[in-house]
Subunit: 313 residues, 2 copies
DNA sequence: AGCGATGATCCGTTGTGCTGATGATCGTGA
DNA sequence: TCACGATCATCAGCACAACGGATCATCGCT
């Protein structure tokens, strides 16, 4: 009895080309016909079958001289059976490859953050799911930019929406939207000045010291303002509700504001604070599924239309 | 038609060796490790992966220079998935081959004829089925020797029991049993002489003009006897029943006689008629499953034991 | 007996995979 | 910061194998 490891080496020399030759000969019943069909000479097929028999260790055809069909041996029949399965598998690879390349299938894990999750991501994912039902899109929300970069570098995310273009040599990003900061003030009371440098002493609503809020505070500091926060919440609609209630005003990225709220007045700051940039990032050198290109296109398209809406409003 | 799949131009250059390299690299995360595992140099693996990528038309790994693991691209992951299936299929081929070679599985179509079907075949098939449950044995009975030869030549039968060694260059046979003709006479009446030349005028039971009966008649003719048949039946037990009833005597091959019947007397002919030979035949040049060898062995063994039983009786 | 078709075999050329060595790139530790 | 080590790519050279074309042996058929 032969040992397993040795047996594993037996089929080491078996090649797909030989299986194709085997099937062709088995179907045609003739080496010459098979050769013609596969675009070889009869000599080549003869040698391929011989190599197959060498690799397998048994004759696969009973050859009868003269014009009689080549008949499969039992070993040959077994190989035909499995060979068909293997070539079918190969066909499946081909189909899968074509679907993948067409962007019809695949898996996409996308990072996001609050305002994008509300205003951009649902539309993008919705459109993508409609036109590419085979795609599996998963979204992960994180409000920590460092963690997003880490996740991108660790390949936990394929793509991620980010604020600002990350300054990392292994991250590349496409700008989607330039999102200006606006002043949100209660509709009930007289609005404060649109000049951010005059916000000193004005009661403010904001977020806890997340990176976004820190950016705002820093910008205000630059114009000599130390904002006086009378309420902080991570939730943008809570912030806006507090503004609506007249507790104070807020400096928010426009994307985070519900522009249809009649209870607040939204004013462009003048002079403006440096706007935040929303981008889509990926790890440099990481090959994504072709459908990721479509995701980027849709994200750009949705962000453009958001820009238009904002301009109209 | 399935045929189209075989001729698919796509992935024509993909080879099993490349899939093995792909899987090894994907698992080891390193070209060099994979090379060591597969017994190649790193250069060879690098070239194999390059060839794979050329065949597929896409990069399968995101290579990062320096000591970082090679990461699969989506296309690579797809190929790994199907590659595993294909290599599993290859393992299945290997297992199937081992089973086949061990004689554990396979299909066997065996020709037979009446007396063998009663006294030999059941025992052989029974033993074979017990020790090789995976075998599929099918038996076909025919009492026309010419048809048996035709079926063997047409590969409708793998093996066949035959009377006499067929005189055909494409048939080869192994002798199993030398089966003498015996005189079967009623127990009730005085038995006729054991000398076949004295059977003239004795009322005889026989078969219709099948090949076996013709052989008997010809042998009797040679010793100057023209048998007087008072009854003919194709069924051996019907013949024996008629003898038991005293209608006449019969010259039968011993294998066809129920030796345990107390109603008849079985006598060896003296001088004997030329005995018939029972053999197992196959088409020359036809490769049978390995289990066929075991079938032959069992047939020989069973026939030997039948010979012993007869000698004791 | 000759003809045609079959597959095996031989031979020369071409092609291709492998090895060994080298190059380019990056991370890491001194 | 620099050198080292590890990574994979690439190159050159060699050996082997696959292919095509020709020929041969064998058989069925006319």
């Amino acid at each position: 009895m032969i040992v397993n490891a040795y047996d594993a080496r037996m089929l080491r020399d078996l090649e797909i080309r030989q299986l194709r030759a085997l099937l062709a000969v088995a179907e045609e019943g003739s080496f010459a016909k098979a050769a013609e069909r596969l675009g070889f000479t009869q000599s080549a097929i003869s040698q391929q079958i011989a190599a197959l028999e060498r690799a397998v260790g048994d004759k696969v055809f009973d050859r009868q001289a003269g014009p009689r069909k080549a008949q499969l041996t039992p070993v040959g029949a077994l190989l035909v059976e499995h060979g068909q399965a293997m070539l079918a598998q190969l066909q499946a690879v081909d189909d899968g490859l074509r679907s993948l390349r067409a962007g019809e299938v695949g898996r996409l894990v996308v990072g996001s953050f609050q305002s994008v999750s509300v205003n951009v991501l649902p539309e993008v994912v919705g459109r993508l799911r409609t036109e590419r039902p085979g795609l599996a899109v998963r979204a992960v929300e994180s409000d920590d930019p460092d963690d997003v970069v880490r996740a991108l570098l660790a390949d936990e995310l394929d793509l991620s929406f980010v604020v600002g273009v990350p300054d990392h040599p292994d991250i590349e990003a496409w700008t989607l939207l330039v999102d200006p900061f606006v002043l949100v003030s209660p509709a009930c009371c007289p609005a404060p000045s649109a000049d951010p440098s005059l916000l000193d002493g004005v009661p403010m609503i904001g977020q806890p010291s997340c990176s976004c809020q820190l950016t705002i505070d820093e910008s205000l500091h630059r114009v000599g303002v130390t904002p006086d926060y009378v309420f902080r919440s991570n939730d943008n609609s809570a912030v806006q509700a507090m503004v609506r209630a007249g507790l104070g005003s807020a400096v928010m990225p426009r994307l985070a504001v519900d522009l249809h709220d009649p209870g607040v007045i939204v004013t462009d700051l003048d002079p403006p604070l440096p706007p935040r940039v929303v981008a889509l990032a990926k790890r440099r050198g990481r090959t994504l599924i072709p459908a990721a290109d479509r995701f980027l296109e849709l994200a750009q398209s949705v962000c453009e239309s958001i820009d238009s809406v904002v301009l109209v409003a």
